[in-house]
């Protein structure tokens, strides 16, 4: 996680050092990164006190696909309406991405956790949570994941993300979670 953060932060750090300008000499290195001279490209002075220097372009993300915060694979939570196991269309691109990822990475496995909000009876909610997990499982399979790659578990209303009783808390708690197993 730390590593990921630094990789993302490095270009900005470089940019910050460049913008903060003159204190930086060409010999100095951005912490943890390659020498500035290798990164910054050409520099020029014309003796008028004005210095220009090239800047590095945006760096492509170098982590794995699953770690890329810009990828739909980074989204792992599907939210549901009350007493419903219907996966809303807005979540289809996310599930499509996970399904396709699993089909191209047969070595990976996921557990789908099904959860509900606190309203209604606990045992019924346990069954409803399983239904949500299975609804997500089916869509992953339709998008190429193999049955053996997916297991499901229901926690019903027993593991709320937010133990509060507000509408906002309930909305957060009606969810299915895609958990990649190590």
């Amino acid at each position: 996680m730390c590593r990921l953060k630094f990789q993302m932060a490095a270009p900005f750090l470089v940019l910050l050092l460049i913008l903060s300008g003159c204190a930086t000499t060409d010999n100095e290195q951005a912490i943890g990164g390659p020498p500035m001279s290798e990164r910054g490209g050409a520099s020029a002075t014309d003796g008028s006190g004005i210095a220009t220097r090239g800047a590095q372009g945006a760096q492509p993300f170098k982590g794995t696909e699953l770690q890329d915060p810009a990828s739909p694979l980074a989204k792992r939570v599907i939210y549901f309406d009350f007493d419903s196991n219907v996966v809303k269309s807005e979540y289809m691109p996310i599930l499509k991405a996970h399904g396709e990822y699993l089909s191209t990475h047969p070595e990976n496995q996921v557990t789908i956790e099904g959860h509900t909000d606190e309203r209604g009876s606990r045992e019924y909610n346990l069954a409803l949570g399983e239904r949500r997990a299975k609804a997500v499982q089916r869509i992953l399979e339709l998008n190429g994941a193999a049955k053996e790659q997916i297991s499901t578990v229901s926690y019903g209303e027993e593991k709320p993300l937010d133990p509060g009783h507000t509408e906002a808390a309930l909305t957060k708690n009606r969810r299915a979670l895609i958990v990649y197993r190590q």
Binding site: D83, E118, R119, G120, S121, R122, E123, Y124, L126, A127, L128, E130, R131, T152, V153, S154, Y155, G156, E158, K159, P163, G164, H165
Partner: protein, 433 residues
């Protein structure tokens, strides 16, 4: 005989358990209608006798009030404080309109080797001016609560001809969320919430405690292995065993009336269905076959039928089918959400969670008249459980962001909180007699 056993048991229990300070506050939130008026006079504490840790009459009052069958006279309206029949002027009590009067006294017990009490009480008929019953006990100070419940039992039995069951216990789940990881506890306490004892502690959720008919065991669901599994634990020893850990859901244990079988919900074949597990042979029989959710089984008192929740009609409703399997009959038709059924000890009333105006409330369906009565206001009332006397329902509720256990009478809505807890408390279940 039963009384003696209860008393001896109570005394033994108190000898081995440390005294836990009472942690519950009782708050009256509603009145009873059509209940028998009764006057409960605080027991006289004789000169030189140390005051008891808690007034006997308060314990008795709470027990009797909660049934909804008796309406104790407010304390400020007590016109006199007699301690025996001889001291009672019946005419004065008739004017107040009370049918019955309870009086009593606490004296020291000089013959005992400890600082014990002699407790006497009498239940009087105000109109006939006579004594219905009365008893005298020798008791240790730490057994006064148990004795209070026993006196409540005698009064209830004498007035209504059936057991009160005030010396029974409840089980419930408590969740501490102060820690990084929630701590889940399965707790057994006296029926009025006092003397809580933790019988299971887990980092993972615990659900659906269910007493065996002999009160010796509790079945429950634990997620300690990362998914729902059903366990049966001996209450006294704490010994337990796993009884269902198939793929998928293992949940909703319900004891057969003889205590030899458990009805369960399993989704091992892909869909939640109700099964009956024979505990001795471990044989399993599936009794529902439906692509919808079937769960929350309960047995009828004769063991012939199973009542359960299903959404086969499109929304959760209550159904009944033979425990040998067969055709299911729908029982609830009012409202779009009826779940968590539980039967009164005589099998005539079905208590359930009922949604009305977006709120979840406790309701009772009379299986003979098919009339439904809503007993609570919600919004998050759940897990109703009948007292063994059949008069009171225990349930969990969330009010002002705090969870609590509460009781409501099936007669006249006598409603009382069984304490407001700092931690979440849920799924209270009342032990059988």
């Amino acid at each position: 005989m039963k009384l003696m056993r209860t008393l001896v048991l109570g005394l033994l229990m108190l000898l081995v358990s440390t005294q836990v300070p009472a942690q519950l506050t009782i708050q009256i939130t509603g009145g009873a209608e059509g209940a028998l008026p009764i006057a409960l006079v605080p027991f006289r504490v004789e000169n030189g006798v140390p005051a008891p840790p808690e007034e006997m009459i308060t314990i008795i009052r709470d027990d009797l009030y909660r049934t909804g069958l008796l309406q104790p006279l407010p304390r400020k309206d007590l016109i006199a404080h007699p301690a025996t029949l001889e001291e009672v002027n019946f005419q004065n009590w008739r004017v107040l309109g009370v049918d019955n009067l309870v009086v009593g006294a606490l004296a020291s017990d000089p013959d005992s080797g400890y600082h014990g009490y002699q407790v006497s009480f009498e239940l009087l008929d105000v109109y006939k001016a006579n004594r219905l019953t009365g008893k005298r006990y020798r008791v240790r100070p730490d057994a006064l609560r148990t004795l209070g419940h026993t006196i409540s039992d005698i009064i209830f039995q004498s007035l209504f001809g059936r057991p009160g069951g005030f010396n029974t216990q409840i089980a419930y789940v408590e969740i501490e969320r102060n820690a990084d990881q929630p701590v889940h506890k399965l707790i057994v306490a006296d029926a009025d919430g006092h003397n809580p004892q933790v019988i299971l502690t887990s980092k993972a959720p615990i659900m659906s405690p269910a007493w065996s008919p002999d009160r010796q065991r509790i079945g429950y669901v634990s997620f300690e292995n990362g998914r729902s599994e059903v366990y049966v634990q001996e209450v006294a020893s704490g010994k337990r065993r796993t009884v269902a850990s198939f793929n998928g859901i293992n949940s909703a244990p319900a004891w057969s009336p003889q205590g030899n079988r458990l009805a369960l919900t399993l989704s091992k074949d892909g869909n939640p269905e109700i099964y009956i597990l024979d505990l001795a042979s471990e044989s399993l029989r599936q009794i529902t076959h439906n692509s919808s959710i079937d769960t929350e089984p309960v047995w009828t008192p004769n063991g012939q039928q199973i009542i359960f929740t299903s959404d086969r009609g499109g929304s959760p409703q209550i159904y009944r089918l033979p425990s040998a399997g067969g055709k299911a009959e729908r029982l609830t038709f009012e409202g779009s959400y009826n779940a968590r059924p539980t039967l009164s000890p005589d099998g005539r009333l079905l208590a359930l969670v009922h949604r009305e105006d977006g709120k979840f409330k406790i309701a009772v369906l009379d299986l003979q008249t098919r009339l439904t009565r809503v007993l609570t206001d919600g919004p998050l009332d759940e897990s109703p459980s009948f007292a063994p006397n059949g008069a009171t329902l225990l349930y969990s509720s969330v009010l002002g962001g705090k969870s609590e256990l509460a009781t409501v009478s099936i007669y006249g809505r006598a409603h009382e909180r069984l304490g407001v807890f700092n931690n979440a408390v849920q799924e209270p279940t009342w032990s059988p007699l």
